[in-house]
């Protein structure tokens, strides 16, 4: 005989979630204590990613890596080089070209408590897995009324720049960041890539981690000590009083290039690398705008409904009165990605286009 149904409907108070357990958020060491110092060894962006995954896999057996060519081929872009040797084929798993299948499989596995890292050779190929990564991963916690989360990391190359033409050059951030329930991280350099990926693997929510094939060979000083970088905290790359320039991922470098040149003309830019776009550290942006009263937002995805549009909407909502000029965005040109080298270069939010935008804003 079925017993009566008498649920207790009480608020979750303690840090231990009844379904998800204790959320193990690591301690974040502030960058001033553990900066990317000159004395440190120099490693590539791809090595930084590999170190993050390797360290987390050594620590936690639930973490595994799956994707096309990640194991025996050592990674299509050599990110996972050597990981098969260390962890074996049960944890470094070669998948056939079935993005929807293996992404969905890993979502099921994450519900069961594993911590999958799913590598998309390119985020362009994640579109065939859109149903799983957008409909299932970020909504599972909500749809199940708090019974199952989805601790998973989807990572891979995002963005144009290698003359791959329109099918292979997607910037998915504009489209995917729209979905509640997911977090999105877009590191611009090896130091951030490592610290943010380690945080992503520990985070109990689905994290969309967008790398760039154009930056995998970039080198930087990365400390040997373990560190984590929190989501939602921008990095000030350069200080200046005349204008705020914000970006994330690869175009941060375009901003720095532009800022360098502008400094020659006596225009000083405050450059912020947002590092994650969901959460978006709008507080730091506002603080900077209150100082400079001008803002240009640089985004390597299309302008219509982009992260840049979102950032500007928030800036207008939060500090409209502090602006001396309307906010300006520099996105990729609003066309499918072209192949020809010169056209592709012109399509990107390059330093030249940023320079022009800044000059126009400060001259008024």
């Amino acid at each position: 005989m079925t017993t009566a149904y008498t649920p207790e409907l009480t608020e979750i108070k303690d840090a231990i979630h009844p379904a998800l357990g204790k959320v193990e958020i690591p301690d974040f060491v502030s960058e001033s204590e553990l900066p990317s110092r000159d004395g440190d060894r120099v490693i590539q962006y791809r090595e930084a990613l590999r170190e993050a995954m390797t360290e987390e896999m050594r620590r936690d057996e639930r973490v595994f890596l799956i994707g096309e060519e990640v194991a025996e081929y050592n990674g299509a872009y050599k990110v996972s080089q050597g990981m098969l040797d260390e962890f074996g084929p049960k944890r470094i798993i070669d998948s056939p070209i079935s993005e929807n299948g293996f992404a969905g499989m890993c979502i099921g596995a994450a519900m069961m408590g594993l911590r999958p890292i799913v590598e998309f050779m390119s985020w362009s190929f994640s579109l065939v897995a859109a149903d799983q990564i957008l409909n299932n991963a970020p909504k599972m916690l909500y749809m199940s009324g708090g019974q199952w989360g989805c601790p998973i990391v989807f990572r891979g190359n995002d963005g144009a720049g290698g003359q791959l033409g329109s099918t292979h050059s997607w910037c998915v951030e504009g489209m995917f960041a729209n979905v509640p329930g997911l977090k999105m991280v877009i590191p611009s350099n090896p130091y951030d890539a490592k610290g943010l990926l380690k945080t992503a693997i520990r985070d109990p929510d689905p994290v969309f981690f967008l790398e760039s094939e154009r930056m995998l060979g970039d080198k930087a000083h990365v400390p040997e000590e373990e560190y984590f970088i929190p989501f939602g905290r921008a990095r000030v790359c350069r200080e200046g009083d005349d204008i705020t320039l914000i970006s994330w991922g690869r175009p941060v470098h375009f901003c720095m290039e532009a800022a360098e040149k502008l400094a020659g003309d006596g225009i000083e830019c405050d450059v912020l690398d947002m590092r994650s776009v969901r959460p978006l550290d709008i507080d730091s942006v506002i603080e900077s705008v209150k100082k400079t009263n001008r803002i240009v937002v640089v985004d390597q995805s299309w302008p219509f409904g982009s992260v840049a549009s979102e950032a500007i909407a928030q800036i207008c909502e939060r500090c409209f009165d502090w602006l001396d000029h309307e906010p300006v965005r520099v996105n990729t040109i609003d066309v499918p990605t072209p192949y020809a080298k010169n056209l592709e270069a012109a399509y990107l939010p390059n330093a030249e286009r940023i320079l022009e935008a800044v000059r126009a804003v400060v001259s008024e």
Binding site: L9, T10, H17, I93, M111, L141, G145, G146
Partner: protein, 372 residues
């Protein structure tokens, strides 16, 4: 008649080594659960007609033997995932009818706090990993449940050998996700059992109009090296006796399987279906083979006449009455239960809510799920 219960093919028969006979207690339990589902669904339809339940609502009546016969073959900790026609699976897996009904009424005491609705029944204590609304999308998830069972065993050295059950409708045979999952299931040697609830229709499209080579659906699985077996989904005893060995085998060898269950739904596709695509006659013909009536009669027929002789007319009436009361109670409970407060709108979005995840919403944890 556009759909007939095809006799299992020669090879399917060869594949079937019958397992343990369903015990008398199990048979009574099966009857009880099937009747519970039927009664529950008739109340669901009433509530829907009274606009107490909104959205899409898919009734399981006619298919009861499928969920009951297969779930009876599982261990308690084996994970199960299904599509949107999920009330029967939820009840068979052990969800309290009140939690299920309250969910459809959009109440906080519902299994998903009123955030999922009819198509999205989740029950963590009973290892039900959801009803899923996108046709075929549950098939990679089911693979992942089985993958995780295997991973926990092989890599983490924890747990015991488990299998995952993943249900799909015949309409899901048109989805690529399913074939990706079958391929991966063999490549990764994953103990997932795909249970095709082949009720002959994908909404208004008959099987033969949406599936090529519809007489040989098991071939699709076998093309990927997944063992495929056809079974009669209207006879719960024979279903259990054939399905149980498949479960045991998949568990033991940690391999996938595919089972094509021939069944039939009595109601329309969803609550808003004029059913122009089939005749009343066809429905009546299937009702003559009704799984509940058949089981009840098997249990009432004396042993000497080939039955079990373990149920009297009175027992059966009492059982029906007891179930009626239970479901009535579920209705009353759902009706009286509280709707979620508006603060619940922004809970259960993130497991680790952080500032600035949204320009407008501040996320939190809210009320603990009633099933936990």
């Amino acid at each position: 008649m556009s759909q007939t219960i095809s006799e299992p093919t020669e090879r399917a028969v060869q594949d079937q080594s019958n397992g343990p006979r369903m015990s008398d207690d199990q048979a009574l339990e099966a009857l009880r659960t099937m009747q519970l589902i039927r009664e529950f669904e008739s109340r669901t339809m009433q509530a829907y007609q009274r606009a107490k339940i909104g959205g899409f609502c898919h009734i399981y009546t006619g298919q009861e033997a499928c969920a009951v016969g297969t779930i009876m073959s599982l261990e308690k900790t084996d994970p199960v995932v299904t599509a949107y026609r999920d009330h029967g699976h939820a009840l068979a897996r052990g969800m309290h009818p009140s939690a299920c009904m309250a969910e459809m009424f959009g109440k906080l005491a519902g299994c998903a706090k009123g955030k999922g609705g009819s198509m999205h029944m989740f029950d963590r204590p009973n290892h039900l990993y959801g009803g899923h609304g996108i046709v075929g999308a549950q098939t990679p998830l089911g693979l992942g449940l089985a993958f995780a069972c295997r991973y926990q065993l092989d890599v983490m050295g924890s747990g015991e050998k488990r299998v995952a059950l993943c249900y799909l409708g015949d309409g899901a045979l048109g989805q690529g996700a399913f074939y990706e999952a079958l391929n991966l299931a063999t490549l990764f040697s994953t103990p997932v059992i795909y249970v095709l609830e082949n009720n002959g229709y994908s909404m208004g499209t008959a099987l033969k109009r949406h599936a090529a080579n519809a007489d040989r659906l098991v071939d699709r699985a076998e093309a990927f090296g997944v063992r495929g077996v056809e079974m009669d989904g209207l006879d719960v005893m024979s279903l259990y006796e054939q399905f149980r060995p498949v479960v045991d085998d998949c568990r033991e060898r940690q391999v996938p399987a595919f089972v094509d269950l021939k069944t039939y739904r009595y109601q329309g596709h969803s609550m808003s279906d004029p059913q122009k695509y089939r005749t009343k006659d066809e429905v009546e013909q299937y009702k003559e083979k009704d799984s509940i009536a058949r089981l009840a009669s098997q249990l009432m027929t004396p042993k000497d006449d080939g039955g079990r002789g373990i149920l009297s007319e009175d027992d059966w009436s009492a059982m029906q009455k007891e179930i009626k009361d239970l479901v009535k109670e579920a209705m009353d409970f759902a009706e009286e239960a509280e709707a979620p407060g508006e603060s619940e709108l922004t809970t259960d979005v993130y497991a680790n809510p952080q500032p600035n995840l949204s320009p407008q919403s501040v996320y939190g944890h809210g009320v603990k799920n009633p099933l936990l």
